[in-house]
């Protein structure tokens, strides 16, 4: 029973990983790539680690998987945020069909 539930979680996690990487290839713009890949890959890897937690139970490896989930949920958005900010400051434009860019307007008004 436990093995089946763990296998279901791992398969769902791998599927979301695959969707995230397809988004990394298909999206037209760097910010959209960041959105699709960060969300899908973070939840997919958390699904795999949750499957590991169910499979091993509350033992040494299971607790390490739980710590890894917490750590991943704390750090993956931070690194995505840092990369988005650095990209915008280094001067990469948004996609042609984007609607608005309030950040660039504010920076132009300041300088």
């Amino acid at each position: 029973m436990n093995e089946t539930i763990a296998l279901i979680f791992i398969v769902v996690g791998i599927t979301f990983d695959l969707f995230g990487c397809i988004g990394l290839v298909r999206m037209p713009d760097i910010y959209n790539r960041l959105q699709a890949s960060t969300k899908c890959v973070t939840l997919g890897t958390c699904g795999i680690l949750f499957g590991v937690l169910i499979k091993f139970g509350f033992s040494a490896a299971g607790v390490k998987a739980l710590l890894c989930i917490i750590f991943l949920l704390l750090t993956a958005p931070v690194s995505a945020h840092a990369l988005a900010r650095a990209t915008h400051r280094s001067g990469v434009k948004l996609w042609d069909k984007s609607v608005c860019d309030k950040y660039k307007d504010d920076k132009d008004a300041l300088s």
């Binding site: 763990a6 791992i10 398969v11 996690g13 791998i14 990983d17 695959l18 995230g20 990487c21 397809i22 990394l24 290839v25 298909r26 760097i30 790539r33 960041l34 890949s37 960060t38 890959v41 973070t42 997919g44 890897t45 795999i48 680690l49 499957g51 590991v52 499979k55 091993f56 040494a60 490896a61 390490k64 998987a65 710590l67 890894c68 750590f71 991943l72 750090t75 993956a76 931070v78 690194s79 995505a80 840092a82 990369l83 900010r85 650095a86 990209t87 400051r89 280094s90 990469v92």
Partner: protein
Amino acid sequence: MKFFRWLLGSVFLAGTIIFIFSYLKVGPQAKLMLYLLVSFLLSLFRVLKGPTPADRAIATDIFGILVIGFCAILAVYTGRDWYMDVAIAWGLQSFIGTLALAKFIEGKNFDE
């Protein structure tokens, strides 16, 4: 042209998945790892192709997160606990490396 590229990509993905699913004679655990290898290949494609340096940095970050999941699957199907230690250490190093890459792309010094 766009339709042709889309068709080529979907045929490649579906062909790889069908090949792994039906023709390859390995156990079901190794099949799971091969599915994960497809997403490794896609992120490596973005590393090779990316027009700006930031694209490559993003693909490297995603690659680091995928390695954590790969280590977790290895820990399940070999039954060895220390693969989880490898996963935690790899996650820490990947996070710090991504922050350093972000500082580098922004064009600042590291102590700022």
